[in-house]
């Protein structure tokens, strides 16, 4: 019989989850680790990251500078102790990946290359052409095969946490292929399921990014932190939302309007195209409003002009940009600017954790985009997220091992059996049993995505946010009558879509309510009715707690170590 009790249960097989699993496996040969993922790990969305990952590796750079750039980029909402911890550990993680075979691009002297990125004041971003996430993911996944103590549960969808006597003791998961539910018990559980971009209509995120881990923690009483902080990336392809990496600008690309003007000179002359993403996305919307954008079949857009870089540099440094532009826009960036517009890309918020990934629920950890430590505050700098997955993946893996070792016995079976029974009733008898009516999973999902796009997007204000909060409540009510056409238990992707939508409806509520309650503009959270940053009242993290109704909102202070908040000027 397949083993179902482990020391560590990791949910999610992307960069953060794999790094945590490997850290745990390396720390003790006697430990057993379950790696549970709703997809084969190499399909995880880390694969789509393109431009690079940050670390201080050269004499011209310093931890101090990386920390300052990150904190300033965060509009002073990052916890400075977390940022200091983070920047000091990025180099060792990059080198570890290098030793594990990651094909980093190299300088002529054989050292790992670094490139410029938005909001970073020096060349700090390590890369492997522009397939950085792909290479990191495959390097980690293949390296994880070294350890037979990592037991993979591929294509298992986690529906609930097991909570016993005030601690998390594992998960209940739907085995997609077997069509059955299973309780996977662990002394410690790590959530590493990535972001929730699919709550928006126009996003760079893959179909699987539905915020599962965030919702799992939220439902177990753990608060979600800073969920109003949603990043919109300025350069996405109209229509599909496919990301064109910031490395295109790091390597020297221009943003132009329909007059051929590098319009960033009006908004951020000191940084131009290498400003942080929140500022660049707002500038794009401004250009659109003022009639200086191009118009295409999928609406307004601006131009990403790489022509002056030449074919050689494009092929060497950013080949995927050319591949994507040719395939999905039918144009060659060597000869034509690429149409781009802002789209949802990342969420700075997530499951509230400390530096070790610990949540308020003993035994439960979170890491990567799922978590909010917070090093990203109100706006993440490009190339800090992959490093975050590595640094905090390792830290969290080690912390979970320490916790598991203090628990001498495996969790009690009774709580697991009870949770399993409850989930079987909820999912199989409840959701799967519902007859098809007038509400469909796709119908409600599309309404939710359009609503978030319209009312909780780049610019926000009270009446739209208040409408969104009300409408999301109604969508939650209507969700109760979504019926299923597919009654099979085996690989029922309509059922998983219902489970994901259920999660996303929780997440959207936390985003909209957190946004409505923050009466200021900071980083990616831009309120037209409160255009100024307000440190007197809002230099603090939002916490959203689950209740029977809308989330309860609370606040905790930001940790300031040595960088006092000043006006964010570039």
């Amino acid at each position: 019989m397949e083993r179902t009790s482990f020391d560590i249960v990791v949910v999610g097989g992307g960069a953060a989850g794999l790094r945590a699993a490997i850290a745990a496996a390396e720390s003790d040969p006697d430990l057993t680790i379950a790696l549970v993922s709703k997809v084969y790990p190499m399909r995880s969305h880390t694969v789509s990251a393109e431009g690079g990952t940050a670390a201080v590796l050269r004499d011209y750079d310093s931890f101090e500078l990386h920390a300052l750039d990150t904190i300033k980029g965060s509009d002073f909402l990052a916890d400075q102790d977390a940022v200091e911890f983070f920047v000091a550990r990025c180099p060792e993680e990059i080198i570890r990946l290098e030793h594990w075979g990651c094909p980093w691009s190299r300088d002529e002297d054989g050292r790992v290359s670094q490139r410029a990125f938005g909001g970073m004041s020096v060349k700090r971003t390590v890369y492997a052409a522009d397939k950085v996430g792909f290479h990191i993911l495959h390097t980690l996944f293949q390296t994880s095969m070294k350890y037979d103590r990592i037991h993979r549960f591929d294509e298992y969808f986690v529906t609930s946490l097991i909570v016993d006597a005030g601690a998390c003791t594992g998960v209940v998961a739907l085995n997609l292929r077997g069509g059955s539910m299973v309780a996977i018990q662990g002394k410690a559980t790590i959530l590493a399921t990535g972001g929730c971009g699919r709550v928006y209509e126009f996003t760079t995120n893959g179909f699987i990014k539905t915020g599962d881990g965030m919702a799992l923690a939220y439902r177990a009483g753990v608060p979600l932190k800073d969920m109003e902080m949603v990043q919109f990336h300025p350069t996405c392809l109209p229509g599909t939302g496919i990301l064109i990496t910031e490395a295109a600008r790091g390597e020297g690309g221009y943003l132009i309007n329909k007059d051929g003007e590098r319009y960033m000179q009006r908004y951020l002359p000191g940084k131009m195209e290498l400003g942080p993403r929140d500022i660049l996305s707002r500038a794009m919307v401004q250009e659109m409003k003022e009639g200086r954008a191009f118009e295409g079949p999928y609406g307004l857009y601006l131009g990403l002009d790489l022509r002056h870089l030449g074919a050689k540099k494009i092929n060497e440094r950013i080949p995927m940009v050319r591949e994507l532009a040719e395939k999905y826009m039918g144009l060659d960036p060597v000869h034509e600017p690429i149409p781009v517009r802002p789209g949802q890309h990342y969420i700075m918020g997530g499951v509230s954790t400390n530096l070790k990934g610990e949540t308020t629920l003993p035994g439960l950890y979170a890491v990567g985009e799922t978590a909010c430590v917070s090093i990203n505050g109100a706006n993440r700098l490009g190339s800090n997220s992959l490093s975050e997955c590595l640094v905090f993946g390792a830290a969290c893996g080690h912390a979970a091992v320490e916790f598991a070792k203090r628990r001498s016995t495996y969790p009690r079976g009774a709580a697991a059996r009870e949770a399993l029974k409850r989930e079987e009733a909820r999912v199989f008898d409840g959701l799967l049993g519902r007859e098809r009516g007038k509400e469909t999973v796709a119908g409600i999902r599309i309404e939710m995505q359009q609503l978030m796009e319209r009312d909780v997007g780049i610019f926000r204000e009270e009446s739209a946010l208040s409408d969104a909060c009300g409408m999301l409540g109604k969508l939650r009510d209507r969700f109760a009558s979504v019926g299923l056409a597919d009654k099979d238990r085996v690989f029922n992707t309509e059922l998983t879509a219902v489970l994901e939508l259920d999660f996303m409806l929780d997440i959207t509520m936390t985003i909209a309510h957190s946004a409505r309650n923050r009466h200021e503009s900071r980083g990616a959270h831009s309120r037209t009715d409160f255009p100024q940053r307000d440190d007197a009242n809002y230099l603090k993290h939002t916490l959203a707690f689950q209740t029977d109704g809308p989330p309860r909102i609370d606040y905790v202070p930001v940790t300031i170590t040595k960088w006092q908040p000043v006006e964010r000027k570039y």
């Binding site: 997809v39 789509s48 060792e92 080198i95 691009s105 290479h135 495959h138 390296t143 496919i242 085996v490």
Partner: protein, 248 residues
């Protein structure tokens, strides 16, 4: 922007209903910028929620959405309907794999084969863990092509040898073995060649070359296997001539 309609013929197999796979036809709105995956998603969202397939990134990098489209293994997210449309778009699960449901097939066999070629850096001595290993741009170039494999499994679907001898290690796993053997940081080449020099290894390949034709990332697994055959032969010769000596 709806220009007309297109017919999708999709192979359905539902294990809980029993029976053999059957084709189902769907007529859906068509735009010239639609990829096959867009059509499948339109059906899933608006016509038939029971249609089952995998997908995620929709940008040709996650490797989830492979299927046989009009008889050719392809990534459905990167295949424009306008390029394959001949009256109807026929979509079937990737050939040579056990079907789990509709277009979803079982890849576990590949993951076991991947694990069997030691797909990670092997070293006796890891040296100074705080310093990067020196690798020149041309060293990276030596294995770059094979490192681009996204594990989409189109090469296995196209491989007639794998079709008739499922134990064959196959194109992607071989290419990844070569990727590590060519990496200057690695010291595990000998064991990988020994693994590939077995009766389920590279000698099964008859150099049909279809794997390289269908590869969406230009990994060229067929060439990788030919190179491995050469390297395995060299290794064998060395062992005959210099018994006891081990190669890198």
């Amino acid at each position: 922007m709806v220009e007309s309609e297109v017919v999708f013929r999709v192979k359905r197999y539902r294990p809980e209903s029993g029976g053999r796979p059957t084709f189902q036809e769907y007529t859906i709105p068509y735009r010239s910028d639609m990829v096959v995956l867009d059509g499948l998603n339109y059906i899933k969202d608006h016509v038939d929620p029971t249609l089952t397939f995998r997908w995620s990134c929709r940008m040709g990098i996650c490797g989830s959405c492979g299927a046989d489209v009009n008889g050719q293994p392809r990534l459905t997210c990167g295949t424009y309907i306008r390029d394959v449309h001949k009256g109807a778009v026929t979509v079937e699960p990737l050939s040579n794999f056990p079907i789990l449901k509709d277009l979803v097939v079982d890849f576990d066999d590949f993951l076991n084969k991947l694990a069997s070629v030691t797909p990670y850096i092997v070293r006796k001595d890891w040296g100074d863990l705080t310093k990067e290993y020196v690798q020149y741009p041309e060293d990276v170039e030596a294995y770059r092509q094979q490192s681009l494999c996204i594990n989409c499994m189109l090469c296995y679907a196209a491989c007639p040898v794998f079709g008739s001898s499922p134990e064959f290690v196959g194109p992607a796993a071989s290419a990844l073995a070569l990727r590590y053997n060519r990496d200057t940081r690695d010291q595990g080449a000998d064991a990988r060649l020994a693994r590939l020099n077995t009766k389920t290894g590279i000698w099964e390949c008859t150099f049909v070359g279809e794997c390289s034709v269908v590869c969406p990332k230009d990994v060229d697994p067929a060439a990788a296997i030919q190179t491995l055959k050469f390297l395995a032969t060299m290794r064998h010769m060395r062992r005959l001539l210099m018994p006891g000596a081990s190669s890198r």
